[in-house]
Symmetry: D2
Subunit: 146 residues, 4 copies
């Protein structure tokens, strides 16, 4: 059961001359899922700027299984969220909903970093608490976020 779900209708601009979504855009879709997840828990990306903390990506990967085409619906499922002291790992499955196929399996690791010194710091306590609350609540169901 996925922890969070969102959908994207593939816009024309995301396709390339092979008629499919360009591989780099899957990473943008993963980030979109993160943005909507953080909005849902009430701590939008950028909430910790006043503490001098930002959340840069430290690793990202996708395994591509099946193409997505213009106007098809990509269903993004957060299938796992690993919460460390200094990082969050999002594991995302992207489905081609129109064809009922798994399109890609992606991971994105986000760290907390001090804006000034550029070094890794601990994740803000409030962020950790809200994520835990979300995961432990009944909200984390396929119905949420759709």
């Amino acid at each position: 059961m996925p922890l969070f779900i969102t959908r994207i209708r593939v816009p024309w601009v995301d396709t390339d001359a092979a008629g499919v979504v360009h591989f780099s855009n899957y990473f943008r879709y993963c980030e979109r899922l993160e943005e909507e997840f953080l909005n849902t828990i009430g701590l939008p990306f950028g909430s910790f700027r006043h503490l001098g903390i930002w959340l840069p990506r430290v690793h990202a990967s996708c395994r591509y299984r099946w193409p997505l085409r213009f106007n098809q619906t990509a269903r993004l499922e957060l299938v796992n969220l690993e919460l460390g002291r200094r990082h969050i790992k999002y594991v995302v499955a992207i489905y081609n909903e129109d064809e009922g196929r798994l399109a890609a399996e992606c991971e994105m690791v986000v760290a907390a970093a001090s804006r000034e010194r550029g070094v890794a710091v601990e994740l803000p306590g409030e962020l950790v608490r809200r994520i835990k609350e979300y995961l432990e609540s009944g909200e984390a169901s396929p119905a949420s976020g759709v």
Copy 2:
């Protein structure tokens, strides 16, 4: 005789499912020309941040004449530069060099604005002086910037 010339080899990612460069990317090409022009006159975009001045776009337009395809060379020609007290207008012709065709005719108007108050201000004197020097010098020839 164009005032400045630069070239872009069309990358795959700039194409769409029709096999041609997406229309929004022509505006990015115009901005690339501006960046290289400002680098050439020694005042890169962003040089006036310390004065609290930035250079937002206030108008942009393109008339599309002929497609550009993957791996073709776009030749960007700055065919006119209108220098006002508060704005610069770049008039750019984009050629499909492989096919010897005019691909698009574009205009981009950039204003000076105070970062703080968001209001229009006069262009920084140094920028105006350097642009005039460039235009009046023999540099402004097809050979430059290629």
Copy 3:
């Protein structure tokens, strides 16, 4: 009263180092509005490929009034649609809904062209008919498409 309305939550990737939506993305937002409009009337972009007809952009322009920032809502209003024999002109107002400001005024002209010969042809009859039906029906109200 706008003919069609849609909304976009600004994703992080659409911003630039000035902290605002990059000017080229407003054109992508206009295209998104067109895609959703054509989906609404049941003739998605690409519907006429089997007739050898596509709908390239021939002109596009934006006048920028006010910035859009990350996570703000852009409200896209189709304020006018001019239907010619060979072209459609979309007139779009983009609002920064969070700040209640007009962000940009854009126009996008789309022509019908023969894929094979690359020359202008008449718009497909079915497209013209459906657009007229939409415009004449009560559907063309602010409530639609939201």
Copy 4:
């Protein structure tokens, strides 16, 4: 000693509101390196379309080490190329040349696939031969491709 080198001056549009190159663009930079590599060996991406073969990405990953900012030079080094019967793996190091720092370590795996049936096929013989020739020749040196 890298097998191939190319450079990209970071354009404004590639930055985001944190003032750095958006993480998804590193994948586009890797693809740009591949495009220029294939151009160099005389078999541009798309050369095998007439055989019904294309080269979709099947896996891509980046580990991010250090940011890249507007107008800085990204030096892309192909540090390894793994040539299988059905795939090519590009191992790419991206340097922030202005600051003398490793910016990211990326991998991109490309497979050969039949356009019609969508299944994996062997890499075209000519592509394998040219890549081997390039790797075995003295061309594969830091000076090449710069």
